[in-house]
Each structure stands twice: as C-alpha cells, then as structure tokens.
C-alpha cells in the first residue's frame, strides 16, 4: 500500500461517508495488489484465528463433547467455573504464582545480562546469540524433556549439588519444588527481553552519563536516575509481553508432569487444566469457556498495566 493511498483511505473513512460500491471498487482497483499479497494472511486470520475463536465463543455456551451434538446450556459453564470448580481455583493459583515469580525475575535477569553486554566487550555478537539461544528453543518439547532429565532425583542438578555435599530433592516430582523448576526454566529463557533491553540501552544518550559523572554521580546512582527511568518504555513492553507469555505457558508443564499437572496439581497450569478438560475429558464446551476466561484475565492484566503505566513509564518526548 502506498503512502498516498493509505492517506486517501483514511480520509474517506474519517469523513464518515458511506462506502458506495463504486467507492469500494475504486479502493480495490488502487490497492488490489496489496490485498492480493495480503490474501494468505487473510486466509490464515479468518480461517485459523477468527473462525475458531467465534466457534469457541459459541461452544462455551454449550455442552459439546466431540461425539454428540452440542446442546445450548446458557451460562452454566461459566457459572460452574466461578462457583463450583476447585480445579479452576487451583490452576489459577498455580498460574498466578508462576507469573508473579517468573516475570519479574526473568526481566531482572534479562536486564542484568543486557547491562553487562552493553559495556562494549569483545565478541558481543557471539554472546548475544548464545544468550538468545534458549529463547529460540524455549517452548520446545526437547527442552522440557531435557529439563526433566536435569532436575530428576538422580539428574545432573543433584549430581552437582552432591559435589558440594548437598543431597537435593527430586525437584520435578516433589510438590514443594516442581513449580519452581518451571520458574527457573522460564527465567533461563531470558533471551528475547534481553535483546530488547540491549536495544533500549543503546538509545540512552551517552552525554547524560557524562554530565552525571561530572556532577559526581556514581554508577549505582546513574543506573537508578538515568538508565532505569529512560528504559521504562522498554521495561513496560517486555513486562506486557512476558506476562501474556506467562499466562499462556503450557509445554513445559505438560511435558514435565506428563500432562497430569501432578504431583498434587502443583504444576496444573491454567492452560494445562484447559487442555485436560478438552482432550482428556472431552468437555469442549467447558474448555472453551475456560479459554475465554483466560482471554479476559490476560486482557484485564494488560489493560491494568496500561492504566498504571502513566505513573511509572517515562517517554522522553
């Protein structure tokens, strides 16, 4: 789409005039190439995203079980979720715990590494790539399987602890620790927020630091008074993205608990519970309702973050 046609399209719709057929055809004739190129995306969006979403919204008001036709049950799925579903509450607790601990720790870790890398060392490109690698592998099954091996009772982690005389527990199969192994796994995948932090750090003007050090501000003070405030837009962006990712997290818990969320539902992530309802117990209608509630919760957290952002995010313009 050229800049000119975009401008004209905007003008047309902002004028609020009805789009008559001839107007449509004019838009089409001007932009047909653009729409043609967009066609694969449209197909994907309508066929694979919007379509399933609409049908999932419909199914959330039914008792669809895959094998028999769906019956309309009104709000009863939602009613049960909020009033009479201990597993919903349990999985929500697990997920919130995961988000509350993994997101800030991951961001802190990512920022720490980004600060180190920003000091202009040799071979920066290599380090950046190496640190980013876990994020690429992040949600894969292989990494979750590897994690399971590392943290098993007789895994590498406990072998390492044994060297310093500590007898470690069976991390993944002890309900007191199993969720923490998933938090650690998530922190380890700090690569993509780190890259974004690094880019943000590069944009902070050097003369501010020079001025600050002339005024006698130490490194620590420079970090709190210059780096962090100027980085808040990037922190905000990373925070939103990672929070959404945290709520959506599924694969590691699925692999590490064998899809059960055990021991004692300690790794029963919300998405895992949703999956169980849908594909273990075939309550597709109920699972659809759970999915929409998750969307609402994520939407709420995101909106809340945006509302509070004006108190702590500083845009320099």
């Amino acid at each position: 789409m050229t800049a000119r046609s975009m401008h004209e399209t905007n003008r047309v719709s902002s004028a609020g005039r009805a789009l008559t057929p001839s107007r449509w055809s004019r838009i089409w004739s001007r932009n047909s190439a653009g729409y043609l190129f967009l066609l694969p995306w449209f197909l994907g969006f309508f066929g694979l995203t919007l379509g399933p979403m609409v049908s999932s919204l419909f199914l959330s008001f039914t008792d669809f079980d895959l094998l028999t036709a769906a019956n309309w049950v009104g709000l009863s799925n939602y009613e049960r979720i909020f009033t009479n579903d201990p597993k919903f509450a349990a999985s929500m607790r697990v997920t919130l715990f995961f988000v509350v601990f993994s997101v800030p720790l991951k961001l802190a870790f990512a920022l720490g590494v980004a600060l180190l890398l920003n000091r202009g060392m040799k071979g920066l490109g290599l380090y950046r790539a190496v640190f980013y690698l876990p994020s690429l592998l992040g949600a894969s099954v292989a990494i979750a399987v590897l994690w399971r091996q590392l943290f098993a009772g007789d895994g590498v982690v406990n072998d390492a602890l044994a060297l310093v005389g500590i007898q470690g527990p069976a991390w993944i199969s002890n309900p007191n620790y199993s969720l923490w192994t998933l938090v650690v796994l998530s922190i380890w995948q700090f690569g993509s927020p780190m890259i974004i932090f690094l880019a943000g750090l590069r944009q902070i003007p050097q003369d501010m630091y020079e001025a600050a050090s002339l005024d006698g501000a130490g490194k620590w003070r420079q970090f709190w008074k210059i780096t962090l405030p100027l980085l808040t837009p990037v922190v905000f962006f990373n925070f939103i993205i990672q929070t959404i990712e945290g709520f959506k997290s599924f694969t590691p818990a699925f692999i590490i608990s064998g899809g059960t969320g055990n021991p004692i539902n300690s790794t029963l992530f919300y998405t895992l519970y949703l999956y169980q309802e849908a594909f273990s117990f075939f309550r597709m209608g109920y699972a659809s309702a759970l999915a929409w509630i998750l969307l609402a919760i994520v939407g709420f957290f995101t909106a809340f973050s945006f509302l509070t952002s004006k108190y702590w995010v500083h845009y320099d313009d």
Binding site: G153, D154, S257, T260, P263, I264, Q276
Partner: protein, 432 residues
C-alpha cells in the same frame, strides 16, 4: 498392500498425494476397498499388526489398509476428533473403559448381524465375548484376554538370593519380605516395592477381594469412604515400615508410561501392570523380568483378578465397509498364521483354535504370560461391569489424592471421605 503412517510419513505422503492429484495421476481408488485402521501401541505392536494386514491383503486382492498408531494417551483425543468430524476409521481399536461411551453414542457399529456369517465366534471364550457387549448388543471383539499382573525383576531377586513371593503372599507379608530384601539387596537405591496407593487397578483388585466392586453395574461407586481410608492407611503403614519407594520417586511415574515405572527406573524390583505388557516391559529392561499376581488383600482372600478383554476391535458406525471389516476381524482373531504373528502381545487369544495353534511357537516370556492368565485359579473372579464414562477422570483424581496422603498433606482418615465426595461429584457431573 498396507500403508503405514507415522507423523512424518503422513506429512510426506499427503504432500506427495496433493502433488499427484495436482498433475492428474491420483491413485486409482475406485475399485479398491480401502480401510483405515487406528490403534494404540508401540512399534512392536505395529509390526505385528501390519504383518497381519499384509497377510490379509495378499489373500484378499483389492483390499488395502491405511494403518496408523499412537500412544494410548494421544489415541483418544485423535479418535474422538475424527469421530466428531464424521471421519472415523473403519477398524478401531477399542478399550473396555471407552466402549460403553462409544456404543451409546452410536459411534461404533453393532456387530450382531455379522455373527455366523463373516464373523465365526463358535470357539470364542464366552467371558471375552460378553465383555464386548453393551446393552445386549455386540460392539467389540476382544483381541486377547489379560489380567493385572506385577512385573518382577527376576535378576535383582536372584542377585539378592531371595525368592520371588509365591502366589499366596498378601499385603501383610510385605514388611517382613522388605526387611529381608533390605538386608540382602545388592542394588543401591532399590527399595522393595512400588507405591501403588494411587493405582486404580490396584484398588479395584483389593476391593474385589473385600467383596466390593469399584463400580456397580449402574455406574455408581461400589465402595465407601472407610474402604478408601483403610487402603490409604495400609499404604501409609507400608511407607512407614520402609517397604516403599519414596513419594518423590513414585511421582516420577506420572502416566504409567513403561519408561518411567519404578522397575524400569531401577527404584524397585516390582511394578504394577498388565499381563500382556511383559513383552513391552522386557523390551526396555536389561534385566530378566517375570510376573506374579497382585498381593492378596488378606491371607487367603481371592477373586481380585479377572480375565479382562485387553482391547477390542470395533467398526466405525459410518464405515462403508462394515462386512469387509467384520471379515478382517474374523481373520485377525481366528487365523492360525495371523495368531503366530500376533503372539500374545495383545493378550491371550480368545479363539481356542488360534490359541492352540500358537502355543508351541511362543518364546519363554510369552509362555509366562499365557501360563499366568491360564493358571489364576482362586485368584480369579468374575468380569466386573464396564466402568462408567467418567471413570478415567475418577482415576486421575484418585492418583492426585494418593499423592496428598503420600506427601503428608492429608491423613488417610480425611482422604477417604474427601475422595468419595470428589468421585461422587465427578460421576454425577458426567451423568447430568
């Protein structure tokens, strides 16, 4: 010709097929009877199954099979999705736990009209035939009888110079046996017994010896809170006596996958399983394995075990080839050559003629499985009614509850009533 599909081949195959269709040389399918066969199991089962389909297609030109196999837990979502999409396979491997659900929803076809024609069941075991009936109609043909059984590491017992418990041992004997084991055992870190307090088949076996079923014929709980408290208390006592693997180790076995069982992880010389699984367990265990019965609930009590149809073949209700499917099942369960290929990997064949044909060809371990199921004697009780639709969910809840007790979050006294309440809710939700 049999077409085998795993995921990768499916991708390649469907691409090739699309390409072929694109240039107008689609395979000539019109005059062929093309049947889709879906089953769960591992490579060993797939090799045997495809051996039989190859045998069948060479004797019946014009018939081809598209076979596909998955792990048990992946199998049910797949089958349900295909059924929902009106795309169910022609021949479906079916489980005792699901057959009622699929039959009641008319997702599988009744087979009665084929009996005596395509399907000859004259020498078929009566109890196994009965197990495939729902509401008086025949929906599944048992592919083999099996029973619950303990897998036992013979080598570890031999090294310790200790006898494997005989068929009359009970749970009350375990502490003394464990003491002997702990003094003689040569394997570091190996405890005497798996913690099966969360294993529903173990509970079922134990309850039956108390004269109670897990589920009644109308799909209600057959036991009371006190039974569950007693069960958890018994395991708590065994735990306190140092008989069992730690709860943490036991929790590694989250899904009963053979690779994560206590015997395969070398945490204990025994694991609770099924008689037809000896072949699969042996395949991943370096030590020699054998099998024995589950412990008796009390000295002298019996009737806990039963000859369960390990799995069925059913026909998809929407299949275009019902008669051909029935003919294939008949071949599968009766043909002697087919029987020799299949062995006892799906359980003991239910047709007398096929059973006798394969007996001389069995390897020692298949022989153990055959003898075990044939010689249960007083351990054997009647086949219980097929479980209600929500039984799987109850089983999941039971395992989680057992972990709460094992990790000390709930006492057996509280866990009994709590579990009964939970299970009742699950059953009533499924029924509504």
């Amino acid at each position: 010709m049999t077409i085998r599909l795993d995921r990768r081949k499916f991708l390649m195959g469907s691409t090739a097929l699309a390409a072929a269709a694109g240039i107008g040389i689609g395979p000539a399918m019109s005059q062929e009877t093309r049947m889709r066969l879906l089953f769960w199991g591992g490579q060993a089962r797939a090799d045997r199954t495809y051996g039989v389909t190859d045998l069948y297609t060479s004797a019946n030109p014009g018939v081809t099979f598209d076979g596909e196999f998955l792990a048990f837990t992946d199998y049910w979502p797949k089958l349900a999705t295909q059924t929902a999409g009106g795309n169910s396979p022609d021949v479906i491997q079916m489980d005792y736990r699901y057959i009622v659900e699929y039959a009641n929803r008319n997702a599988i076809a009744p087979l009665d009209e084929f009996v005596g024609n395509e399907l000859n069941l004259d020498d078929f075991d009566a109890d196994q035939l009965e197990g495939g009936k729902v509401g008086g109609k025949l929906y599944g043909i048992s592919l083999g009888a099996n029973s619950v059984a303990l897998m036992v590491n013979q080598t570890a017992f031999d090294e310790a110079g200790m006898d494997i418990p005989n068929r009359d041992y009970s749970y009350a004997d375990l502490p003394a046996l464990a003491e002997e084991w702990n003094s003689k055992n040569k394997r570091p870190g190996m405890k005497f017994w798996s913690d099966y307090s969360g294993g529903e088949p173990g509970l079922d076996n134990w309850l039956r010896q108390r004269g109670k079923p897990l589920y009644t014929a109308d799909g209600q709980l057959g036991f009371e809170a006190q039974d569950i408290t007693d069960w958890f208390q018994m395991w708590a006592d065994l735990r306190a006596a140092g008989v069992l693997v730690s709860p943490e180790d036991q929790a590694l076995d989250a899904t009963d996958a053979i690779e994560n069982t206590m015997i395969t992880l070398a945490k204990a010389p025994v694991t609770y399983a099924n008689s037809n699984q000896l072949i699969a367990f042996q395949a991943v265990n370096p030590d020699t394995l054998t099998m024995i019965n589950y412990p008796r609930a009390e000295p002298g009590s019996g009737g806990g075990h039963y000859r369960k149809p390990s799995m069925f073949f059913s026909l998809g209700a929407g299949s275009q080839h019902l008669a051909e499917g029935a003919k294939f099942i008949d071949f599968f369960i009766r043909d002697p050559e087919a029987g020799k290929i299949l062995g006892v990997e799906r359980g003991i064949p239910c047709s007398k003629a096929q059973r006798e044909a394969i007996a001389p060809t069995l390897d020692p371990q298949s022989r153990i499985a055959l003898d075990f199921v044939s010689n249960l004697g007083d351990l054997l009780g009647p086949l219980p009614p097929s479980p209600p639709a929500a039984a799987g969910e109850v089983g999941v809840a039971f395992k989680t509850k057992s972990q709460e007790v094992a990790f000390g979050q709930q006492s057996p006294q509280d866990a009994g009533p709590a579990f009964v309440q939970q299970a009742t809710e699950i059953l009533s939700r499924a029924a509504s």
